[in-house]
């Protein structure tokens, strides 16, 4: 994708996924490792970044299908925690994420050699995904219109801009904070949004948290409002 120039107007995009099946499955950790080594980039994407689109309440604390399977079907809790500790927001290329997953599993298996022979309760089914990214008709012109749209755009839009797009932009950041910093000139707010911990939120939770942070920022940056609140507190 061509990198788009950051302009003052923010047009919300959204993405849609069509899940693919592969007929491939793993019955133990060695099988999983082989799948991770050989599968497509989009399959890695599906089982990690796309996990945010699944029922997050049921996945928490795990942030990837790999971690969920290792914990629930292989009952290797320590490895699941190590996989969970891979912070997806630090990755803007699947190649690096794949290497990290391989490294974590291999190093765990070296320390716990029988683990490769252990049979899982349920197979790990390798999926893949085809994604479509498209523009919506929602435009933000300033912080206020952005905040208002944030409460009405679909969760797929939130997901795209906050989680998925970094793979397209190759940036180490989400689209929202990049726009807030570069186009609105609000680096402090951008920094606050960038620090949101992805691992603890559902997409709806992420939406609510961003709105809350923007409201707090607007409140604190408006001297009149701040003074009147301080008076009320007194």
């Amino acid at each position: 994708m061509k990198e788009k120039a950051l302009t003052k107007v923010f047009q919300f995009s959204s993405s849609a996924s069509l899940e693919k099946l592969t007929g491939q499955r793993a019955l133990n950790l060695r099988g999983l490792l082989d799948l991770i080594k050989t599968c497509s980039d989009s399959a890695i994407f599906y089982h990690t970044f796309s996990a945010f689109l699944k029922l997050r309440e049921a996945q928490v604390p795990y942030n990837s299908d790999f971690a969920v399977w290792v914990s629930r079907s292989l009952n290797e809790k320590a490895l699941a925690e190590k996989l969970m500790a891979i912070d997806l927001s630090e990755y803007n290329a699947i190649k690096n994420l794949r290497s990290r997953l391989i490294e974590v599993i291999q190093s765990y298996a070296e320390e716990n050699s029988p683990v490769f022979q252990k049979h899982a309760n349920e197979p790990f089914y390798l999926h893949d995904v085809m994604r479509v990214v498209y523009l919506t008709d929602k435009f933000a012109y300033d912080l206020l219109s952005f905040r208002d749209l944030l409460s009405t755009v679909s969760i797929y839009s939130i997901y795209y801009h906050f989680i998925e797009s970094r793979l397209n932009t190759q940036l180490q950041t989400d689209d929202f904070s990049a726009w807030i910093e570069k186009s609105l000139g609000l680096p402090e707010l951008a920094k606050i949004i960038r620090k949101i911990d992805l691992s603890v939120y559902t997409l709806e939770g992420l939406r609510a948290r961003m709105i809350q942070l923007i409201d707090e920022y607007r409140e604190n940056s408006n001297p009149e409002r701040r003074q009147s609140r301080e008076r009320a507190d007194d």
Partner: protein
């Protein structure tokens, strides 16, 4: 009754979902689809096509549906195909396979395939593609059945035909074999606006329970499923009897029966024998049931069971979750895709497990409500007809660029 339009779904799924469908449809443009299956009425596939076809047309995708023709000998063979693909051990004579191919060839000669996309449902018409030698359009095989343990002889015969398609669609990863063509996952879906799932007045629900003499003085535990050994209705009665020692409740069993189904009569007799003359066990059998009454039974129940021991997808689970009911399901087939244990319902593996789950849910109404509410959201995300409309739009885009991992629609 007028069929609901796409617009009517806004209220149910939210305006964003419909807006995004419209945007995707605008990128797909004027396309045409032909759906082909083997029956116009009865069964989940025909039921789904009756709703999907008009909605696809409304989105600008010119969609038609054609049913293949066959005599009894053809349907007898394809019924055996169905059983064998789901794992039944049997052997097919060459003559039977030749008959199957002859009917496919005859149907091919009677049909046209001018559409951009031809979607062939299930094994009955799967070989049609063989006679479409110089096609320029896309063909996709949509398999609605469980192919996880197919009869090797039959799968060996059918697989080369399936691999002539541009892609195949399965309902779950559990059912997906290794194939040389791309495979997509389309979950089966329910229609939130049809008679079986639409909102009902409480007065109607009360009237239906009164009509059949089902008291509502105690919590009601219900299973709505055919009287079929794989649905384990006898196990449901046993689980209920174990739970009843701890919680006061009624059991309602509702089942459909085809006109000539001796096996259902046999299972029903076993269920009645297990139930004895217990006044709190209510057994109903319909032929056929009325969709709005099934809806009322689901909405009037406190806990719904689908205690299957072998299953296809079991959309009855999604129907119950959509109504925010607490659901207990056997951990088989497509049920674990719908019930995420402890979040959208309870998965069980035995009569004892089902009994404990009944006690747990009836003693903790807050927990049961939470499961129902999260289950409703899960169905909204994955198992509604609007999601399948989106999948068809995405499929049309994907078939244009089968090698692309991401398609950017920025023009």
């Amino acid at each position: 009754m007028t069929e609901p339009s796409l617009w009517d779904y806004r209220e149910v799924v939210g305006p964003n979902i419909i807006e995004e469908l419209t945007i995707l449809a605008s990128h797909v443009g004027n396309r045409s689809i032909k759906m082909i299956n083997s029956t116009a009425v009865g069964g989940g596939v025909a039921e789904m096509l009756h709703r999907m076809v008009p909605l696809l047309n409304e989105m600008g995708i010119s969609t038609e549906w054609q049913v293949i023709q066959g005599a009894d000998e053809f349907y007898e063979i394809t019924k055996e195909f169905h059983n064998a693909l789901q794992g039944k051990e049997m052997r097919f004579e060459k003559a039977a396979l030749d008959t199957y191919l002859a009917y496919n060839e005859k149907n091919h000669a009677l049909m046209d395939f001018d559409q951009d996309l031809v979607v062939v449902h299930d094994p009955q018409p799967a070989a049609l593609i063989h006679w479409e030698k110089k096609r320029k359009n896309r063909w996709v095989w949509r398999c609605h059945i469980d192919l996880s343990h197919p009869n090797p002889q039959l799968w060996g015969f059918l697989k080369p035909y399936i691999e002539k398609y541009d892609a195949a669609i399965f309902s779950s990863a559990l059912f997906s074999p290794e194939l040389s063509v791309p495979q997509y996952r389309f979950y089966p879906a329910i229609d939130p606006l049809d008679e079986k799932n639409k909102e009902l007045d409480e007065t109607y629900v009360t009237r239906i329970f009164e009509k059949y003499g089902i008291p509502r003085d105690k919590p009601i535990v219900t299973q709505i499923s055919r009287y079929d050994p794989w649905k384990d209705p006898v196990g449901v009665v046993r689980a209920f009897k174990m739970a009843r020692k701890y919680v006061d409740c009624n059991l309602l069993l509702v089942g459909d029966k085809a006109a000539d189904d001796p096996e259902a009569e046999k299972v029903l007799a076993e269920v009645k024998a297990e139930a004895g003359d217990a006044p709190d066990i209510h057994i109903l059998m319909f032929s056929p049931s009325i969709a709005s009454e099934i809806n009322a039974f689901q909405r009037g129940s406190d806990v719904i069971l689908q205690k299957s021991i072998k299953e296809g997808f079991a959309l009855t689970v999604s129907e119950a979750l959509w109504k925010r009911r607490a659901v207990i399901g056997g951990a088989v087939g497509g049920i674990p895709a719908q019930i995420i244990h402890g979040h959208t319902g309870i998965l069980v593996h035995s009569v004892e497990g089902a009994s404990l789950a009944i006690r747990s849910l009836l003693n903790q109404p807050g927990f049961a409500r939470r499961l129902g509410s999260t289950g409703h959201q899960r169905v909204k995300d994955e198992f509604l007809i609007t999601k399948n409309l989106k999948r068809y739009l995405l499929l049309l885009l994907a078939l244009d660029k089968p090698r692309d991992e991401t398609i950017f629609l920025y023009q």
